[in-house]
Subunit: 412 residues, 3 copies
């Protein structure tokens, strides 16, 4: 039809314009960081402890970043595994644009000096986190948005994500290395708010185009494999300096194992048809990993991670049974990839768990790790209770950024 | 049907009880190993040579374990690639439970001090080896076992695996870094014995539920990819200290390449229908890697690995053509995933190859590597012949553990 | 049919003979390189800067090569993701044979000492590059070649590849770390010339056997994932010493992101049916990475990589629309996997970009990196213009090797 043809030409033109815009901005502003320069760095990446790993450091640092990027793209591909194969190409488009755009925007926030952005490999790691949040939002919009709207969404979500991250990590001083709050909660509620607004404009339209089916099991299986292989190493590598035991990583593995069992506990209670499919197992495993995002570096014993992971694994089946129909009928939000149950609620619960652990934090229990988990408490500038209050305040701030941002994006 | 519904509720309750049990045991016994503590360690992991890698060690050690776990989960996913997609969720359940349970049981064996198990990243690597053996057994039982029986199997197999491993590596002093004997032979014959007992109880029942088809080619292709990418690095990283040339890894790659050619030699001779499918290629490649498990660190020239890999690649097609019907009709063993040909026989042959190489071991030929391949011979406490005898004795011990264990499990 | 049966038996016998030949040659010539020996090394691998990474080096070196091989096999699997699942087993056979054969042939070129080839892990990395070129050629021949012909092709292509690589890197002194010219251009035109000759002998025959369909989207998705995860790290790790910022890797990521957008620009203009499929996205991403093969280490600002990647992404859709029909009707070349558009043209353009950058190279702009990108210019033995001329001369040399070699192979 002529309408579909013109819509495809619009996508083509939009891609062309955006790519030209980015090339010009890169040509004017972006240069590679010179060899050996100290550089600037996002607070997420814990650069100070990274920068001086002792002898042989330049050699090591290089492998370090090779591997972080390797694992970072594995982390992105987990999200890809959650979509149907028909949407996978569109998701790759959104990822490719969001990474380029995030390199620019986050460069202005963190590494803008003398009129130039000095890009280095850490910039790529930050951009991968940002692209992760955009992919979470994509999951909520997929029923409604065409590629054009998804590109517009990325165009607005990347600066808002960066602003929220800047406020949380730089101004409020929140510890959220794994992105429970900054990546998953933000991405989920941004997407849900956007989906709510879009739905109001399109009532009755495009019902038949909704991409609401499950991803095929083969892709879900590959996605789950990538999740187990890459996610814990990536998230903990981004925040844990290498001189301490990698408890963050172990917490995450243990939580993911417990959430897998939780799926098999819930599935027969809620559904009449046999064992859970791979996509349900994948949802639960992602929920377990999201829950550990903030608390992963704070938990001091593995049974805490087991309990938290088990609870997180219960959420996606409960949410898709009880919350999703409410969302659909009361608020008219079509949550095609159940991002509310998989990223939204576990992200909020992970934040609350982080607040609880911050209240309980004492120098005795944490020892050297206090510096890592709560740097402001370790250097004496804050009490543990005050730090907990900061962590708690970050939740409404993020929700406000996400819901307002999503709504405004939908109105445009 | 009400029977199926009650069986599903039993799985749900069983998962819940096991997870609660593990959480309580973790809460009582398991703590993370404090930073910088020397820790205890399974003899498989060659900790002494690991622990002191020279300057910059704490930094390196961390990346080391990040990567070992990354590759370890790749190793597990090879097994996943051998199952049909319908069984993949069940296999993940078994994996998730076996890892948690192995962390506990192996903790009691190797790192129990002052009433606490001190868990560290090496514990996770050991648990991944153990989960590998459980997945091999799962392949033999898949036609007969429902998830309930597979969970019960894991509950009993993990302690037996750990006991057998303790006897072999600690008491007899066998060199088996890649697990030809401890992982693959044990897992295969445990599963086959269990399958034999279960079959006797279920004669005539559930014929139609057998998961005996081939895995789809896409999953087999992804599994083979994971095999090439992750297995050799993981297995050799677990045993070879980093200061020597990684011959173990090269032996494994070369053996896998030769076993791939062997499949194409055998397939047209045994079957009338054209080229082998991906699943046959995958079976042969796994057999080549299993064969190299024990001998990989002992072979001093690549042509030995080529010959061994080529022979290993001939076994799975021969086994599925000649042994499998015998097993089925004489012993009533239904070997759904041909674990006998892929893990059992190559594991035994790999052990015999290891015995042969131990007989031939001389300090002249091995040089520095003697310490690595046969530490007891290198420090003078054993002659090469005595070491070979120990390696040989380990075979009946493992078979006894496996067959008795599997039979007892089946009777319960 | 008896003809098909005899053809399958020929494949079986050929595999057996080749494997026996390789085992005998390995037994006579190949030994592992002793621990700590300096060894010989292909110029591709930048060994001198590799060898002395400072303190803790032996420990590091080992992880280094573990990882390079890990990523190298990921790189190979990208090619696998481009084939249909029916051909995947055949492609694995070709890979397994090419790796063994390349270990021998390249051993004779680079590490032949005192009548023995001393093999080490770097040899495996070189062999992986060579197997990559063979897989590119396989893509061009897949419609015509049976496994027998593909094995014969590998038998002849591996020595020709090694000879061309030796001439380019050793004699002419070309900088081509990522293999734009040596791997992709050589592989593409070797395969196309072979396909042209084979077509002449088989006119009218086997039309129905052509494997010309697209690979299924699931495999294309997995291939694209492997591409993003493994390719840039592998290629840049092979050439960049670790003490400099990994700009090569960043150039490649940025180029791949831009080429993804380019696909979405072109697809609606050329085709009437909606968004591009995963296989088109994968083709464009590969083209972007091929384009960066030579220029990746020479580009000093990311916008250059954006522009080059965007242009590379335009080539595969244009080629499959305009060049492929011409190739088919005028030259009777059936390019089943569009290697001309994906590897051939982007490889040539990448080389021309490398020539342009070599002309512009000045010590001021490059600083320390001049030693890396253009070692002969840095040590004063060549001017930048002369180096550019050398880079340019390498293009007709490679095309000559490829086209002549492919034609001769086809005539045999």
């Amino acid at each position: 039809s002529p309408h579909a043809a013109s819509s495809r030409l619009k996508v083509s033109g939009m891609c062309f314009l955006l790519q030209m815009l980015i090339i010009i901005l890169f040509a004017v502003f972006v240069r590679y960081s010179p060899n050996g320069s100290p550089g600037l760095c996002s607070p997420r990446l814990n650069c100070s402890s990274r920068r001086n790993p002792g002898p042989g450091s330049s050699y090591l640092r290089s492998w370090n970043v090779h591997l972080q990027i390797l694992m970072g793209f594995g982390f992105l591909m987990v999200f890809l595994g959650r979509y149907r194969i028909e949407s996978a190409a569109t998701c790759l488009l959104v990822t490719a644009f969001a990474i380029q755009w995030a390199l620019l925007i986050q460069g202005f926030f963190y590494s803008f000096q003398n009129g130039k952005i000095y890009m280095e490999t850490q910039s790529m790691v930050s951009a991968v986190f940002c692209a992760g949040a955009v992919l979470v939002s994509t999951g909520a919009v997929l029923g409604w948005g065409n590629p054009l709207q998804l590109l517009l969404m990325s165009l607005l979500e990347v600066p808002l994500f960066s602003a929220n991250e800047y406020v949380l990590l730089h101004l409020i001083g929140v510890s959220d290395g794994g992105g429970s709050l900054t990546v998953h909660t933000f991405g989920a509620y941004f997407g849900l708010a956007l989906s709510w607004i879009l739905r109001q404009y399109h009532v009755g339209k495009r019902e038949q185009q909704q991409d609401t089916g499950h991803s095929p099991d083969v892709l879900a299986a590959v996605g789950t494999v990538c999740l187990w292989i890459f996610w814990p190493s990536f998230v903990s590598a981004a925040m844990v300096p290498a001189s301490v035991e990698p408890w963050t990583e172990l917490n995450m593995y243990v939580a993911m194992a417990a959430s897998t069992l939780a799926t098999f506990v819930m599935a027969p209670l809620l559904h009449k048809d046999g064992t859970p499919c791979m996509c349900q197992v994948q949802d639960a495993t992602v929920a377990g990993a999201v829950m550990m995002g903030m608390a992963g570096e704070m938990l001091l014993a593995p049974f805490g991670a087991l309990v938290a992971g088990f609870l997180a694994g219960l959420i996606p089946p409960l949410s898709s049974r009880f919350f999703a129909p409410t969302l659909l009928h009361k608020l008219s939000i079509q949550d095609a990839r159940s991002v509310h149950g998989v990223h939204g609620v576990p992200g909020i619960l992970g934040t609350l768990l982080g607040v609880l652990l911050a209240v309980l934090a004492t120098a005795d229990a944490y020892g050297d790790r206090l510096q890592l988990a709560f740097p402001h408490v370790a250097d004496g500038s804050r009490t543990a209770t005050y730090q907990a209050l900061c962590q708690l305040c970050a939740l409404p701030v993020t929700l406000l950024f996400a819901v307002l941002g999503g709504s405004v994006t939908g109105e445009l």
